[in-house]
Amino acid sequence: MADPVTPRPALQPAIGSRTVTRRQILGGIAGVAGLAAAPSLIAACSTPAASSAGTSAAPSAAASAAASAAASAGGTVTLGSNYSDPLPKGVLQKAVDKFTSQTGIQVKVNTVDHGTFQNQISSYLQGTPDDVWTWFSGFRMRFFAAQGLATDISDVWAKVSSHYGEAFKVGSTGDDGKQYFIPIYLYPWAVFYRKSLFAAKGYTIPKTFDELKTLAAKIQADGLVPFAFADKDGWPAMGTFDILNLRLNGYQFHVDLMAGKEKWTDPKIKTVFDTWKSILPFHQAGYAGRIWQDASTTLLQKKAAMYFHGMFTSQQFQAAGQADLDDLDFFPYPDFGTQYDAEKALDAPIDGFMLSKAPKNIDGAKAFLEYLAQPATQVDWVSQDRSNIAAVKDADTSGYNSLQKKAAEVIGAAQRITQFLDRDTNPNFAGPNGMQAFLLQFLKSPNDDIGALQKKIQDFWNTLG
């Protein structure tokens, strides 16, 4: 959920009956009680009918790596997409159309609302899923691969691995050592600011955490909000936890913590919360009732000076106009003077595509995945959606805007990248009645007993088994 998720739709329709009969009342209650049995039914209703691979159009003469590989494939590939926002939806469609014109293989895109797609994913994958589906790197990829709900695409990787850095291969590999995922793009989490505001006020980019705090105090004295902040959706605060933990305790500790090998009761976690507490007074109030788009707006309106967020915060600036977008800049989270500074680790979530367990058109689907792994495809993609950068290392970056160039530079300089708390760990643990709630509790009462909170978190983890 590290993505810009729009408010989730209610799953339960309201019953606006004028008169209530006994049967309706019984039905209403049993409906709630029966909700537990419902997910598979919901998925069954909403799963788009997989189209049969009937028509085999003749491959066009277009010469491309993917085309030659797919020459024998033909037919139709189905694609389950969670790109439900207009911009990414359009970008995906263009990529699909280009693939079809190159190879003659039709791709039928079935778009499902982002949040719904995620909630129903396990039912969807067990039913009659589309051949290819959009997903994320990290624990959430490995989980479904381990359940046998994804097809091994090591053969595709053998063809495209020269385009990717080692970290991306690791991020596409399941627990069994095989590859299951094709990365398409990624974006960094960093501290965003407006160049014009920093220039006007004479602020300088902080290199260390102490400098960041000094700067925040200065901004506050100037009557501005140092850090824009929003956590209504529960996940944005995880970004701050991640970066503090990565920089204070290192990549390995963070990864082991996410995997349950380290304990949340560790004193190192207390250090993270204590550090966070020291900058909380510089955060925007009312965060728990605000969505990230509104926090971005306060940065846009120059009411707030900085915003630690994913690069998709730039969408608000893009919508406001080119001048505002050009004025947006960011810097990586500053150093703490620990041994882990050299890692320059950060959250840089990778989105991509996977192959379902029994694709109807496996050759066509693999050709499509191979096409998505081409530098040209990805460069074309991020030239339209400028809040991301291409996942391949040999992408032509000359068309990047300044934000994208910097993102490529910062991610390139990082020795380690992580996905995001809710992508790196058990989704049950990271959910609204889980880590989201625990972090909100900390933010609300940072002076409460941190040890008690840590124990609560660890106890909760333990029950998930």
């Binding site: 709630v32 049995a37 609204p432």
Partner: protein, 326 residues
């Protein structure tokens, strides 16, 4: 999708509804021989079809939920013997799960608020509108409009009212600066009440219409008689009209209780049911309908909610059946 099938397979065999209905009919044959074969067929269908849907759509999922609540099934693959964990879900729910008791508390507050504030307001409005004020139709429509909207839409409407900086309420109060704004939906000590106001906005109109219909059916002769006997308006309502309305009053109580127990939409729209807005229904959803589900655990919460709900259902049914016998 092996799941629902395997669950249904384990559902205790139910007697053939048509056969059962047929047996009931033939039992009466000794006394009434008026039923022809065709009549019996019609009767069997009239009883059997609703019974079938009742069993398949209501009792089936209910029994499946109870069954699932004793497992740790995660929604992936079939259910095997290894999935059975006895009452572990319930033990954890009651002793360990940090969100269960807050949810119970919030549901109870929800119930109390609707029962003692929103419902009486709705009843009061009905009584006022019953007095044939000028423009009574207009007022009825105005108060009823929110009922037509789905709670999802109401959640969005009120989100705009409550938004920290752009919201109407904070702007009216002048509380939009960073150091004094009121975080209606974010502050866990406030957001439940904010949500309750939004819910009541709809609930009041709903109760008003129900009650108004009841008031219209009260025999005017009763009021006239009370007037002749010298009763005041208040006395007439409290001593005469209200007792006559007993059946409607029960419906109102049951409807309110059920509205409170199934409270879901607004809390879920606001923030997914966390941070002070935990409700039993949102816990069920967040556990059962999510990525890598905890279907078994979510089912145990659903069963608890079912048990709580049985109270008002039994009350309502026993009341209705007693009336039927009269």
């Amino acid at each position: 999708m092996a799941n629902p099938a395997s669950v249904e397979g384990l559902t205790p065999a139910v007697p053939d509804p048509v056969g059962a209905a047929g047996a009931a009919v033939s039992g009466r044959r000794g006394r009434y021989s008026l039923l022809r074969r065709q009549d019996k067929l019609v009767l069997a269908l009239m009883v059997g079809i609703p019974l079938f849907f009742d069993l398949a759509l209501i009792w089936g999922p209910t029994i499946a939920s109870v069954f699932l609540s004793f497992t740790d099934w995660d929604g992936i693959g079939g259910i095997t013997g290894k999935n059975f964990i006895g009452t572990a879900n319930y033990q954890y729910l009651i002793t360990g799960y940090p969100f269960f008791w807050p949810a119970v508390e919030h549901n109870l507050i929800w119930l109390a608020f609707l029962m003692f504030i929103a419902t009486p307001v709705g009843m009061f409005m009905a009584v006022l509108l019953d007095r044939e004020l000028r423009g009574t139709r207009f007022y009825q429509t105005v108060f009823y409009v929110p009922v037509v909207l789905s709670l999802a839409v109401i959640g969005i409407i009120w989100t705009l009212q409550y938004a920290p900086e752009q919201g109407f309420i904070n702007n009216v109060l002048g509380r939009t600066a960073n150091d004094n704004l009121i975080d209606w939906y974010g502050d866990p000590s406030l957001n439940l009440w904010a949500a309750l106001v939004a819910t009541s906005w709809r609930h009041v109109g709903y109760i008003m219409v129900l009650y108004l219909a009841g008031l219209k059916s009260v025999d005017p002769a009763l009021r006239e008689a009370a007037k002749v006997d010298g009763a005041t308006e208040t006395q007439t309502f409290v001593r005469v009209v209200f007792p006559v309305m007993a059946p409607i009053n029960v419906v109102i109580v049951v409807v309110t209780t059920i509205e409170a127990l199934r409270a879901f939409d607004i809390a879920y729209i606001i923030n997914g049911g966390k941070n002070g807005l935990e409700l039993l229904s949102t816990l069920i959803t967040n556990n059962s309908v999510s990525e890598s589900n905890r279907v078994g655990f979510g089912s145990s919460i659903a069963v608890i909610l079912l048990l709580i709900s049985l109270g008002p259902i039994v009350l309502f049914l026993s009341r209705t059946m007693r009336e039927d016998r009269r």
